[in-house]
């Protein structure tokens, strides 16, 4: 058992864990940060994606002991960081995934949203091909990726002050033209 000093979502924390525990196991089973998901056991699905020093990595293949002194951001950290930075509500990526219906079962999405967050931090206006490439390590089984791509594009459009593209299923009206309220139907 080692005592690790981790910086998770802005907090320095000491946590005891055996050397063979992955970062995912420490996050989920020691720190109770269960937002990072376990889908495949071994680096094939991306559900456990977290940001290590701002970069998306797979927590299931990362030894927790090797993260000592590094910044770890999990899905639970996005909204508090956004609030700390003076924003309101969840991170725009989270809000856009919600508004676009991209969260079906939601299980792959913490990892997906962190990959998307890192992409937009590095490149505020990626093309659809670039978005697809950046998310190609995060498997989603529900959406066919369409609403995920739309959500990322909604973030880009709103950050740029332009109008997001309307989906095929809403001819003549754009459900994402204006930001939604708190989940109500009056948008």
């Amino acid at each position: 058992m080692r005592v690790l000093e981790l910086e998770v979502n802005g907090d320095r924390q000491e946590v005891a864990a055996p050397a063979h525990w992955s970062l995912l196991e420490v996050l989920r089973y020691r720190l109770g940060l269960t937002g990072s998901k376990q889908g495949c056991d071994k680096g094939d699905c991306g559900a456990c994606t977290v940001l290590l020093e701002g970069q998306p990595v797979l927590a299931c293949l990362t030894l927790a002991a090797l993260c000592a002194g590094k910044r770890v951001t999990t899905i639970e950290g996005l909204m508090p960081a956004h609030l700390r930075a003076g924003g309101t509500g969840p991170d725009p990526v989270q809000a856009a995934f919600d508004r676009c219906g991209a969260l079906q079962c939601g299980f792959c999405q913490p990892g997906m949203m962190l990959s998307a967050r890192a992409l937009l931090d590095a490149n505020p206006s990626p093309s659809r091909a670039e978005i697809r490439a950046a998310l190609a390590g995060n498997l989603c089984r529900c959406t066919g990726y369409t609403q995920i791509l739309q959500a990322v594009e909604l973030c880009i459009a709103e950050a740029a002050g332009s109008e997001p593209a309307a989906p095929a299923w809403a001819p003549g009206q754009n459900p994402w033209k204006a930001p939604c309220g708190n989940g109500d139907g009056r948008t």
């Binding site: 080692r2 055996p18 050397a19 063979h20 525990w21 992955s22 995912l24 196991e25 376990q38 056991d41 071994k42 680096g43 094939d44 991306g46 994606t49 970069q55 998306p56 990595v57 797979l58 299931c60 293949l61 990362t62 030894l63 002991a65 090797l66 990959s115 490439a133 950046a134 998310l135 190609a136 390590g137």
Partner: protein, 339 residues
């Protein structure tokens, strides 16, 4: 969750310390760079080391630099992602940058390293499985068993080299710098690999510190082609690195074709490049030579049913990928990939 077997973790802070740890623990130790190959393999109990030596804290293994003579020196811990994006690598070793850009998926490229990819364990559908699965099989020659299941009654392990960067580095005549108990050792990458699928590296007990890519001439052209089922994540079902060095007049002065994911050793296709030499760009002669090279490569490459994907189909793709990768090298495009 699939669990890692217990091990002791060591984190050396210098190359000397790492070498000392490795020689102290010998075969009961495993080196960990990005962990993207070793960790799944440990979860499958293919490796159950007593000691894992994590190399991330070894400063000598980091960094990319260009020496005055133009030699590109790549620290073994350079991530594949960084390698693919590095302007110096893209300019001097396009095939390598392209190969790195197609390894696995985005997160794995960000974690995985060049050194880890060069030293990647061979892969096989009868081997890269859980302990339970392998026990139900009765194990295989490569690990815990006595029989190879790829070739019925096979006495040799034919697990496949599956590292995309290996053929690219071979086409560039890269040299590896290794540090072991006996000190520094430098060898051409080709001499690293053997035909033994169980352990296809000639060197054991040493740490790969850096990869040296000799300077390429002005007219160097390179590309990498990768056959896989999906546009991301998957290992190669076939990988082809192509190199063409052109004179200012457009004449092929030197050429290389190297292939991976066929058998235990990445292959250099020496005969296949012969028709290319002396041909000039933009002439029908070169187009015909590319076809001839593709046919010669087809003759030389015999994939086995080691990695998933039908061997016969993979063989059929050899000439297609050789042709396409050569053309991509010529016109400065690439990588050759289906997405």
């Amino acid at each position: 969750m699939l669990r890692l077997p217990a091990f002791e973790l060591r984190e050396p802070r210098s190359l000397a310390e790492a070498v000392a740890l490795l020689s102290e623990h010998g075969e009961s130790a495993q080196l960990l760079a990005g962990g993207t190959d070793l960790v799944p393999n440990m979860k499958h109990e293919l490796f159950t080391p007593k000691v894992v030596i994590a190399l991330a804290g070894v400063p000598e293994l980091h960094g990319v630099r260009v020496e005055p003579d133009g030699t590109l020196v790549l620290g073994a811990l350079t991530t594949l992602d960084a390698l693919a994006a590095d302007a110096r690598v893209r300019a001097r070793a396009p095939a390598l940058a392209q190969a790195a850009s197609l390894v696995a998926g985005p997160q794995l490229r960000r974690m995985g390293t060049l050194g880890g990819n060069v030293m990647l364990d061979t892969r096989c559908q009868w081997y890269n499985q859980t302990y339970f699965w392998r026990s139900a099989l009765g194990f295989c020659l490569k690990k815990d068993g006595t029989v190879c299941h790829v070739v019925a009654g096979g006495a040799n392990c034919v697990a496949a080299a599956s590292n995309d960067t290996a053929p690219a580095l071979m086409s560039l005549d890269a040299r590896l710098v290794l540090h072991g108990p006996a000190g520094r050792q430098e060898l051409p990458i080709e001499e690293l690999y053997t035909a033994d699928g169980i352990h296809n590296k000639r060197v054991r007990g040493a740490i790969l510190a850096e990869v040296r890519v000799p300077p390429v001439p002005e007219g160097h052209r390179g590309a990498y082609g990768k056959l896989r089922e999906r546009g991301s994540i998957d290992f190669p079902l076939l990988g082809i690195a192509a190199r063409l060095d052109l004179s200012p007049a457009g004449e092929v002065r030197a050429a290389a074709l190297c292939a991976v994911a066929l058998q235990a050793r990445p292959l250099r296709l020496r005969k296949a490049v012969q028709p290319l030499l002396g041909q000039r760009t933009g002439t029908p002669g070169l187009a015909a030579a590319i076809d001839a090279a593709a046919e010669l490569a087809h003759k030389q490459c015999h994939p086995l049913d080691n990695v998933p994907g039908e061997a016969e189909y993979r063989r059929e793709m050899v000439p297609v990928y050789v042709r396409r990768t050569l053309r991509a090298a010529l016109d400065g495009s690439g990588p050759v990939h289906h997405v």
